[in-house]
Symmetry: C2
Subunit: 251 residues, 2 copies
């Protein structure tokens, strides 16, 4: 029996989604919870890796229950898992899916949102949940630069060095910075796929544009250079949230 | 030298504001931070007690620095304290005040906001920051009942039993439940002063009204009875936030 779970989690206490030796992860918590509920070890597969300290407003994972596991309806599964999961991981909904359903293949794209807290004092409710950045942000220039990142392009310059990925072409469908009246600035990046640290490097680069270390029209040259060193610094993990997952349930 | 601090804190990790034996508190953290910055032990006085796990969007405290303490301008004090305070306590602003300024006397009233999370799955970002309550809330009946609490009345029935306070008359100037489209319900209570657990008992009582355990018009009888047992249960601490402090800087 295979279930698709829609999740949400606060990543502060986790070394990312994927199981790691010597560190707690969201996947490890889900495996422990599933084994308690189904009484047998289950296979948990996530839709995406997330880094240590990164959060998810929306995330999808499948749980494969082998023969002999307890029989639980998909309607009852979220509440059953809630009773054994820590409060920083939540199952919002669950569905039965076909045995050959692959959550990785079902995902056609994702949207991340990066949160900055811009007032001059720290926000105690956003500790590890936003980048505390106190210099004035030039929203107009950042959004001017963001436009250069849209479309199908080679994002090699926006990938952490040392990554083994060779196909670095992705299609960004949204890249936009929005200032909120409460003192937060949110940067939305949606694409068909992401390279390692891509959103955090994009955020660091847009902040460099605001600081006039990079001109918005330089973005085109940075993309062409494919040189990580030409882009901005990698923004801190705590500000990053997986916001939406574009998933095709039929596959 | 005396400073007035405007603070904000997430109360999850603290046994309230006031110093306690064998437990960490916000006041203890402020005293440790002030001693580091001013190089001498300082007296920290808060505008109000808050319970264990209760939060503050806004809070005022004074710091009295004895002779021999370091000389720091009020403009530089928030950043100096931020460098030694934990990230869940923030100093938003600081002012010099007269030596006879009393933060308790300067406060003429306060507003609390109580947050409920009403979707059927837990919100991982509101663990310990909201009451997860999943039954449908009858906003109309709750607001009908809330109106009976307005004005100058004896709130003895809305005070935790065992309190030694004898003058239980207070004036509530706002009592209102507001539903947000994101799944949170906020209950605002403003008054010239509050009795022990008063807001949490009011919230528990309004929820009883929604559950039809109490009729909205029964509120008048509960007030007249002065009997704690006639009101609703005390709502959990984690949903409560000190929202605004009405302070007179001239006193």
């Amino acid at each position: 029996m295979k279930y698709l779970l829609k999740l949400s989690y606060c990543g502060t206490n986790y070394a990312g989604f994927q199981v790691q030796p010597n560190a707690n992860t969201v996947q490890a918590e889900l495996m422990r919870a599933a084994e308690k509920i189904f009484t047998v070890p289950c296979l948990v597969t996530g839709c995406s890796r997330t880094d240590s300290g990164v959060h998810a407003y929306e995330y999808y994972a499948t749980v494969e229950v082998p023969c002999g596991g307890a029989n639980i309806s998909s309607e009852k599964l979220p509440r059953a898992l809630a009773s054994v999961l820590p409060p920083d991981i939540s199952v919002m909904a669950a569905w039965h899916v076909a045995d050959d359903f692959s959550v990785r293949r079902a995902v056609s794209g994702k949207e991340y949102v990066y949160t900055l807290w811009t007032k001059n004092y720290p926000n105690p409710f956003l500790a590890d949940r936003a980048w505390h950045y106190t210099r004035p942000l030039n929203m107009e220039q950042m959004n001017e630069a963001a436009k250069f990142l849209l479309g199908k392009q080679d994002f090699a310059a926006f990938m952490a060095s040392g990554s083994s990925i060779t196909d670095t072409v992705r299609t960004i469908t949204r890249c936009e910075a929005v200032a909120d009246s409460d003192g937060t600035v949110k940067i939305y990046v949606a694409a068909d796929g992401f390279l390692y640290n891509m959103v955090r490097i994009i955020v660091g680069t847009l902040v460099y544009v605001s600081e006039e270390k990079i001109k918005s029209e330089d973005i085109a040259d940075i993309l062409l250079s494919k040189d990580r060193k030409k882009a901005g610094k990698t923004a801190p993990a705590g500000g990053l949230y997986l916001n939406k997952v574009f998933i095709n349930f039929e596959r």
